[in-house]
């Protein structure tokens, strides 16, 4: 497809969020040496500003919806949904980072710049309509997040996390790239719509090639969303990474990877859907089961949340397995709800973990309900949402996902998935038990009072969780309308 050398104005408008984030990220690094006194407060404020502007840009771009750069990008409802989602994730990550970075004495501009770059990559993934663009977005997002995972340089576990994430991540990206290469070889194009046309067209390439390419991409993306059996890295990385970063990793890159997952598999590979459906079915079931049962055994809250995030990836995969626009709308809604509740939960952990992140165990939460009732109440909302109790976003997410699954006649997957969520209740309840039914321990006694920023970092996701639980219509309507465009 010929691409004109000069980008038109509408191309640039549709590319606004990525540009804003990249420029602001670079700016942060430039002004860092100019400031006499290094203050992460200013960096934090600037990145919040950048993200707010980015969201504005994304919304504005949506008003001019359409393809950009000769079809390499496509700005539609789906892309906008995920762009806004990952930038909201960014905001919710930065809010608890203020206190966290101050406590670890690690206030630099790199942290915020890397975060912005990573989010820019994810925005690109959300809007990508060509496999190459997907790959570029994936790399931008991933490389920044590898560094972020090891951001606390002196922390051994953070180093381990970073290295593990990097090695396994590049391995998975290579798989994805092989898939892209195969598709290009077989169809002569990397544009998703064109690939779909080529697959269904007159002289379609042998289904073996296409199937193999789909399988390879499935491996690569399965790693990025930490779906079983490619989930091994997640617990170590989430546990070792600085807590706000872990929160970010569990929501942002995952949402973007799912966006790509949905777009590729429901547009380009939709014609061979019956072929990959059993594969995703199995991955969904494995993720839910492995995630939940492994989480039962954990004492470290971050590790527990890591396993739980594997399980939640399984729930979202159920939405993909349904292979319907209702299914993908449900998956989108679930990812939004999940972002709120999971980041909120990590924010609580980051607040309590103390200097050097020494308090991370379930036992360390003992008596939080008495010492810091607000923190505990917010954590309760997140946990109830993760369990899937009604009037929270987590419940509606599950509800829509399994409704879509049943509509696509996946009765067994729905039954097993929901039973899984009953198992999951056990480990979330353990935290509730600790917070409310035990006397305060050392960690809680030493905990700092809530700063205004942190209070916001807890109340915002809690409000989001409840909002999605009580008035899900708006988000679901938008998701429903945009999910139609995927097909």
């Amino acid at each position: 497809m010929p691409v004109s050398a000069v980008a038109s104005a509408s191309d640039l408008i549709r590319f606004l969020p990525e540009m804003i984030l990249t420029v602001m990220g670079t700016l942060l690094m430039v002004i860092d040496p100019l400031l006499r006194k290094r203050s992460s407060q200013a960096f934090g404020h600037l990145s919040l500003l950048a993200l707010a502007a980015g969201i504005g840009g994304a919304v504005y771009a949506y008003s001019q919806a359409g393809p950009a750069f000769g079809g390499m990008l496509v700005v539609d409802g789906f892309a906008t949904f995920f762009r806004v989602l990952v930038m909201v994730v960014g905001i919710l990550t930065i809010l608890p980072s203020y206190g966290f970075l101050a406590r670890q004495e690690a206030e630099t501009s790199e942290y915020h710049a890397l975060l912005l770059f990573s989010i820019a990559g994810q925005c690109l993934m959300a809007a990508a309509n060509e496999l190459i663009i997907v790959f570029i977005g994936l790399e931008i997002s991933s490389i920044a997040s590898y560094v972020l995972a090891g951001y606390l340089r002196t922390d051994k576990r953070a180093n381990e996390a970073s290295l593990k994430y990097f090695l396994l991540g590049s391995f998975a990206t290579a798989f994805f790239l092989y898939g892209v290469a195969l598709i290009y070889g077989a169809t002569g194009t990397v544009n998703l719509t064109a690939v779909r046309a080529a697959i269904t067209g007159q002289d379609a390439p042998p289904v073996v090639f296409v199937g193999l390419a789909a399988a390879l991409m499935f491996v690569g993306l399965g790693f990025k969303v930490s779906a079983a059996p490619f989930q091994i890295w997640a617990p170590d990385v989430y546990q070792g990474a600085p807590t706000p970063v872990a929160a970010f990793l569990s929501a942002g890159p995952k949402a973007a990877a799912f966006a790509v997952f949905l777009r590729i598999f429901l547009t380009a590979f939709e014609p061979i859907g019956s072929g990959w459906e059993p594969l995703v079915w199995l991955a969904a079931l494995l993720s839910m089961t492995i995630g939940n049962f492994a989480a039962l055994q954990q004492n470290n809250v971050k590790r527990m949340l890591a396993y739980s995030s594997i399980a939640h990836a399984g729930y979202v995969l159920v939405g993909l397995t349904a292979r319907s626009s209702i299914g993908s709308a449900a998956a989108m809604f679930y990812l939004a709800g999940y972002a709120f509740m999971n980041i909120g939960a990590f924010a609580v952990v980051s607040h309590l973990s103390g200097r050097g992140e020494q308090y991370q165990n379930v036992d360390d939460l003992a008596g939080l309900g008495q010492k810091q009732p607000l923190t505990a109440a917010m954590f309760t909302i997140f946990l109830l949402s993760l369990i899937g109790v009604p009037l929270t976003g987590g419940f509606f997410g599950k509800f829509y996902i399994f409704k879509a699954a049943l509509q696509s006649h996946l009765v067994w997957l729905a039954v097993l998935g929901l039973l899984n969520s009953a198992v999951a209740a056990y480990y979330y309840l353990r935290i509730l038990v600790m917070m409310y039914m035990h006397e305060p321990g050392q960690a809680v006694e030493n905990a700092e009072p809530l700063t205004p920023g942190l209070r916001l970092a807890l109340i915002l996701p809690a409000a989001g969780t409840l909002f999605l639980g009580i008035f899900p219509t708006w988000v679901l309507d938008f998701a429903g309308k945009s999910a139609m465009l995927v097909r």
């Binding site: 049943l406 729905a414 039973l419 209740a425 056990y426 509730l432 039914m437 008035f471 679901l476 429903g480």
Partner: protein, 509 residues
């Protein structure tokens, strides 16, 4: 303002305000919650006044759209059965506030807030007319009870609370699958609309479909009832909960299960219900006898009352699955009776515990000497629980046994064993606790009823006598509703034996 909506929302508003009351003022929390719960009770008495007893259908309907897609409505209404269950909840909540007045000393604010939230959830379960809304209330009521047991309970409270939560959750997720499946078949969550479709034949289920969905609903309800062998969470939860928690759990929460069976399982899946009836009746009878036998050997007062609940609730399930007018009437009446008399037992056991700080029967003896009034009230409650004529349980058990006898005479014979056994364990317990030598501990600590405690127990005793002497005040609206349920339960069911010859008798009563 719709009165039913007011009854539902008052506790919720009370809960939200209770969260704002400063921690430093426990008396503020107490006064606020007694005020709110009494106001709710008064409002619900208004329901009783305006309820049209001549109509079998839903009354006080409120139907507001909530979520556009899928179409979910905030749709509430009361019929002759749910009316009484709502009243039972609003009647018992102020009593629970009263008996916790001194007993709950730590985290008072949260305690009363959770109690009000619990009341909201329970009322909602009984009046929801939208399957989705019903599920929401069903789960919402779970959370405050979990905290009530887990925070203010006795030694093994955490184990009991988690077990309680997980048992209920495991059952209810299957129900959720069935609810979603129903929606996908009918494109609506409105219970009335689904029943209409069934009645007009626009919606039919295959036998397998019906059986699976029946089981999905039924298991969720049976766990809550609890039906043998799903009862194992109950003794733990009842024993470990604080008195108020035990009262709400036994008196109202268990009825969520029996109400669900009556209100959803029978009309929605009549074929499967009829097919399973013999098996379920057998489980119910096992529960009746087993619960009674286990009660007999309990050294712990609360555990004894808890197992007696398993036995009593067996009667309710048996009555429902007799598919006779009398059996259903008796089952509903027995739900209310059990709410009042077992609630009273838990209240009184709680009062004993507050004084003597022990639940072991062996630690008591001779209480009648040191606390004569307490003993008298306890005796009346014991006799009510046994099923002495002129007291409430007699009416319910009689109707259930008669209904069961119409359906299958042998069921009645075996179930009647439970009645005899209940006299054994209750009277034996009474004898060991209240008669005999008065020990030092008992003499010094077990004092008689105080004014506040009188206020809590007198209404219960009045209800026991009233419900036993003049059931006519309560039964007519119940009969109307159960007759409708029986009609619905006959759709698409090939009846070999017409099992309702005495309907007219029951109605005329």
């Amino acid at each position: 303002m719709n009165l039913l909506l007011l009854v539902l929302l008052l506790p919720l508003a009370g809960f939200l305000v209770a969260l704002m009351i400063p921690r430093s003022s426990p008396d503020g929390s107490r006064n606020w919650s007694i005020g709110v719960s009494l106001a709710t009770f008064l409002a619900s008495l208004g329901l009783l006044g305006w309820f049209d007893r001549g109509i079998a259908g839903d009354q006080f309907t409120v139907d507001l759209p909530w979520i556009a897609s899928p179409d979910i409505h905030f749709h509430i209404a009361a019929d002759g059965v749910s009316l009484w269950l709502v009243l039972l909840s609003t009647f018992l909540t102020p009593i629970c506030v009263l008996i916790s007045w001194r007993f709950i000393q730590s985290r008072v604010k949260e305690f009363y807030a959770f109690l009000l939230l619990l009341e909201f959830g329970l009322i909602g379960v009984f009046i929801a007319q939208d399957l989705f809304l019903f599920y929401v209330f069903w789960e919402v009521s779970l959370v405050p009870m979990y905290f009530l047991i887990g925070i203010w309970g006795h030694e093994r409270r955490i184990y009991a609370a988690v077990k309680f939560f997980l048992f209920t959750m495991a059952g209810s997720v299957l129900m959720l699958v069935a609810i979603i499946y129903l929606y996908n078949r009918t494109q609506t969550f409105s219970y009335a609309a689904i029943l209409d479709m069934l009645a007009s034949g626009r919606l039919t289920f295959s036998a397998t479909e019906q059986m699976w969905m029946f089981l999905a609903f039924f298991v969720a309800f049976a766990i809550k009832v609890p039906l043998f062998p799903l009862h194992t969470w109950l003794p733990d939860a009842h024993v470990e909960a604080p008195s108020a928690g035990s009262v709400m759990l036994a008196s109202v929460m268990l009825k969520m299960g029996t109400f669900g069976i009556l209100h959803y399982c029978l009309p929605l899946f009549p074929g499967a219900a009829h097919q399973c009836a013999p098996w379920i009746a057998v489980l119910a009878i096992i529960g009746i006898v087993y619960g009674a036998l286990v009660s007999m050997v309990q050294p712990n007062l609360k555990k004894l009352v808890a197992y007696s609940s398993v036995s009593h609730l067996g009667f309710v399930v048996l009555g429902i699955f007799s598919f006779t007018q009398m059996g259903l009437d008796g089952a509903v009446y027995q739900m209310l009776n059990h709410g009042v008399s077992t609630g009273a037992l838990f209240v009184l056991v709680g009062l004993l515990y507050e004084r003597r700080h022990s639940l072991a029967i062996a630690d008591y003896g001779g209480v009648a000497t040191s606390a004569p009034w307490l003993s008298t009230v306890f005796l009346i409650t014991t006799l009510a629980s046994i099923g002495l004529p002129m007291l409430n349980n007699f009416v319910g058990e009689f109707l259930v046994l008669q209904g069961a006898a119409l359906a299958n005479f042998r069921w009645a014979i075996y179930a009647a064993i439970g009645v005899i056994l209940s006299a054994c364990y209750m009277l034996w317990m009474y004898q060991r606790v209240f008669y005999g030598e008065t020990g030092d501990e008992v003499r010094h600590h077990v004092t008689d009823l105080r004014l506040r405690e009188w206020a809590a127990v007198v209404p219960l005793v009045v209800m026991m006598v009233w419900m036993g002497v003049y059931s006519q005040s309560f039964l007519p609206p119940v009969s109307k509703t159960t007759a409708r349920v029986l009609d619905q339960a006959q759709i698409n069911v090939p009846f070999r034996v017409q099992a309702r010859p005495h309907t007219e008798v029951a109605r005329a009563r």
